[in-house]
Subunit: 213 residues, 2 copies
């Protein structure tokens, strides 16, 4: 168990959203944010914001709002993203390519240090052209060796669904700690490996539930 | 208020994940699923699965597991995805292109009926080549007219972050009901418009929190 054993998963998820909104405010040179403002930006209510923050002790001074810089640092520390995390992306189609240029990863210490495909030669020219610089795409067969050599802890899966479990197994075999799966097929792993399946249909399902009900 | 006013948001989110797992089982010709199996596939515990389903009445017969086909239909009805939803994608870069070919949208009645970009001529050849067929990309200036003519209810934003709010405003002006934002900048809308911001960093934040704690 870590420092925060009893925090609801929904609170952890909202912390990420608060962080995004805080950084958005920071980019606009704001110094202080009220719970009402954060609530409005994150589509929750202000009481929820205060309740979520209360799990972690005193973040703000009553009536003064939250100091944005302190809040940002505190949330990053809670989430464990106050240090660099080294990531491999497997499957460099449209989705994988989008991730290679996703600027927010850099801002959050999410460093993509390797990109793999089953056919590196086929994708390399296309990606390099889009990114405006040469890109190194490695063959999937080198995965274990590269994960080890580059101290990679997280694998992102962006292959077609029928390949997803096979790639997950290869990542597990390569001693990766966590997997983020963008493929529309759920992947499974032993308990010691953390997995998040990010299904785009789920985001739409959720939106539509609230449109309907 | 709709039919299910008091369901926790986390339950609604998990319903989507259960649906994905159920469909995965269905594609393998399974007919029945236990709560233990669904739990293991969705990274929750079996008691949580039963509790989530209990909000909606009796889904299964004790000791018999859930009938997969009934469960799938029931969840789709709850979520409101048992009918077609017409969608526009705005911003046809890597991410937008990935969505145009995302097969699971079709399976869920999510029909992308229009794709917009600020420079349709520039992207059209590239996308057509990747999709293996001609693709119609419309100029963003035609958004309102096309949304109206094609009965589009949902807009997906896949433009760079600095353009995201502007596009959101255009979608709102076009009388869209819901917005799914893939851009890494949070977008805001009046209360009557439902918005979901899908930040990839949030998925990684969440994974890392559970790796760290």
């Amino acid at each position: 168990m870590g420092k925060y054993p009893k925090i609801p998963e929904a609170t952890i998820r909202r912390l990420s959203n608060y962080l995004k909104c805080i950084e958005d405010l920071e980019s606009k040179n704001e110094k202080v944010a009220s719970s009402a403002l954060l609530a409005s930006m994150c589509n929750v209510n202000a009481a929820q914001v205060r309740k979520d923050f209360a799990y972690f002790g005193e973040f703000g001074i009553r009536g003064m709002g939250y100091n944005i810089q302190e809040l940002r640092n505190h949330i990053k520390e809670i989430l464990g993203i106050n240090r660099e995390w080294r990531i491999a992306v497997v499957g460099i189609g449209n989705m994988g390519s989008a991730l290679l240029v996703y600027k927010d990863f850099l801002k959050q210490n999410y460093k993509i240090v390797a990109a793999f495909d089953i056919d590196p030669v086929k994708v390399i020219g296309h990606i390099s052209e889009r990114m405006g610089r040469p890109v190194e795409i490695l063959h999937i067969d080198t995965l274990k060796e590269v994960v080890d050599a580059r101290n990679i802890e997280i694998g992102i899966i962006t292959v077609p669904p029928q390949e997803a479990q096979k790639v997950a197994d290869q990542l597990i075999e390569a001693n990766i700690k966590g997997i983020l799966n963008f493929s529309p097929a759920p992947v499974r792993a032993p308990d010691k490996i953390k997995i998040r399946n990010l299904f785009f249909t789920s985001a739409l399902d959720n939106l539509i539930y609230y449109l309907t009900n």
